[in-house]
């Protein structure tokens, strides 16, 4: 199995986009080696601006650049992009519906040893309440490239959420369409909905469940906004049970999106695996996923519970 850093793919994709489109500029706040925007900086120094440790300034400046016709990629860690600069994202970027593409890395507890201050578990919720904002949480390296290209080629503000560790490449994800859920496994007994690194954990769980005679449907819901409520309602109607897995607070993110959709149009039982009213903490990524009940074993257990 191939393991890739989503950040590496992001950096390389940015360079390719930069070659094709001279109106792409990239901003970072002193984390260009971690977010990999440094690759773009090296190739296009005239179109890269390091803002130092000043995310608010970076985000509002991105709005200014975008108002002059630039497609602006802005990167820092997820907690600083979505948290520290939230008002700038809301008022300067999204209210004005500008072409600012926030690609935030180091989301979730899988950041590891840096601990709670650096582990964004609220970022999807913070971005999802802002009108005009599109949100993509790609599941692996190849999908990261597609997400970044989609953000570049579609109008308006985007939030693309990436992780820190290497992630396994998922086979047969099929075509990536912005705003369209990917059904990775067909099944009628229950539906497992996941995004980001949880897609692979869910896939492992699905294999075990199948061996136990249960036929789950697995949906990779990479685009959280615009939300593919059709795919979720179809799943609700056909499988009657939904299990949502995300490396994020259960409040305001993917789980809430699914619950809102089914509660309004076709109420079925929804169980959420995510972080419940806790901050993150230090540890190795795999230890933390265990500690926060975000492993394939946890998904399998929850799936059996909902059956």
């Amino acid at each position: 199995m191939e393991y890739l850093y989503q950040r590496d793919i992001y950096g390389k994709t940015l360079v390719e986009l930069g070659r094709q489109n001279k109106d792409i500029v990239v901003l970072d706040a002193d984390l260009s080696s971690s977010t990999r925007t440094g690759l773009f900086a090296k190739e296009f120094p005239g179109r890269f601006f390091n803002f130092g440790v000043a995310e608010q300034n970076m985000m509002a400046a991105a709005a200014g650049l975008a108002s002059c016709g630039k497609t602006v990629f802005v990167s820092t860690f997820a907690i600083f992009a979505a948290g520290r600069a939230w008002d700038q994202v809301r008022n300067s970027v999204s209210y004005s519906n500008l072409n600012v593409k926030i690609v935030a890395t180091h989301a979730g507890v899988s950041v590891g040893p840096d601990g709670a201050s650096h582990q964004a578990l609220e970022d999807i919720a913070l971005m999802r309440v802002i009108p005009n904002m599109s949100i993509i949480v790609p599941c692996d390296g190849p999908q990261t490239a597609k997400a970044v290209i989609a953000a570049a080629n579609n109008k308006g503000p985007f939030y693309v959420r990436l992780g820190r560790p290497k992630v396994p490449t998922i086979e047969n994800t099929g075509e990536f369409k912005l705003g369209k859920a990917q059904v990775l496994v067909e099944g009628g007994d229950l539906t497992i909905v996941a995004c980001g690194i949880m897609v692979n954990e869910a896939l492992l769980a699905v294999k075990n469940l199948i061996s136990k005679g249960i036929k789950p449907r697995l949906i990779n819901l990479h685009t959280i906004r615009p939300f593919d409520s059709d795919a979720i309602l179809k799943a609700a109607k056909e499988t009657k049970r939904i299990l949502v897995c995300e490396e994020h607070s259960v409040i305001g993110g993917l789980a809430s999106s699914v619950q809102e959709a089914v509660a309004e149009f076709f109420p079925v039982k929804v169980i959420c695996l995510g972080v419940k009213n806790r901050f993150g903490q230090s540890g190795e990524p795999d230890e933390l996923l265990k500690e926060y009940n975000l492993t394939s074993a946890d998904i399998e257990k929850a799936a059996l519970r909902i059956m």
């Binding site: 300034n57 509002a60 709005a63 650049l65």
Partner: protein, 249 residues
Amino acid sequence: MIARAGSGHPGGSLSAADLITVLFFVVLRHNPKDPHWLERDRFHMSKGHCAPLWYSVLAESGYFPKEKLMTLRQLGSLLQGHPDRRTPGVEVASGSLGQGLSIALGMSLAGKVDKKPYRVYCLMGDGEIQEGNIWEAAMASAHYKCDNLCGILDYNGFQIDGKTCVIMDLEPIEDKWKAFGWHTIVINGHNINEILSAYDEARGTKGKPSIIIAHTIKGKGVSFMENVCDFHGRAPTKEEAIRALKELE
């Protein structure tokens, strides 16, 4: 306009009126018939609560019909309580204080990337520069040698809760901007000659951004509004508005 709307911020709109009138009708290279002209000079009002001033100069320039001014703050109006992009001539929304200098910095950097000769002007309030975001932008603008960027500080000495020197003192204000690497020009913000020469001096200053620190009078031109804190965020009554317009004529 503000009296008709029933709410708004007359004080700061009047203190900056001379600065912005001169900017729009003498200095700024723009084309109201083609608001998206690529070579245009950019203006951003970081102190978005003074939108009535911005709307007035935009209407007078021909961006939209003057009759629209009387729709300020009404449901469905082009003219929101604080500026946004539905108003022709407004490039980025404003209203949350402290973000505008960063927006102007972004416009300035875009001009440098594209090697276009346009200039960028940004009006800030004095109370507003208590926001940390302003100083992040100040540091970065000097770092990137944004000599196409001109800040305009409307130093009327008042904010909502009282005098700036009492609420959160800004002094020594010129030293602060100098220390951040800016060329500073201190003027009387109601003296047309000083305003004109300040814009000239800013344009001629190379290698660093310039800021015009303009000493102004809040509520300028209306005797009963001048230096009266209450008129920061309160609309005049109909009677007050009639008196004010008479005085301004």
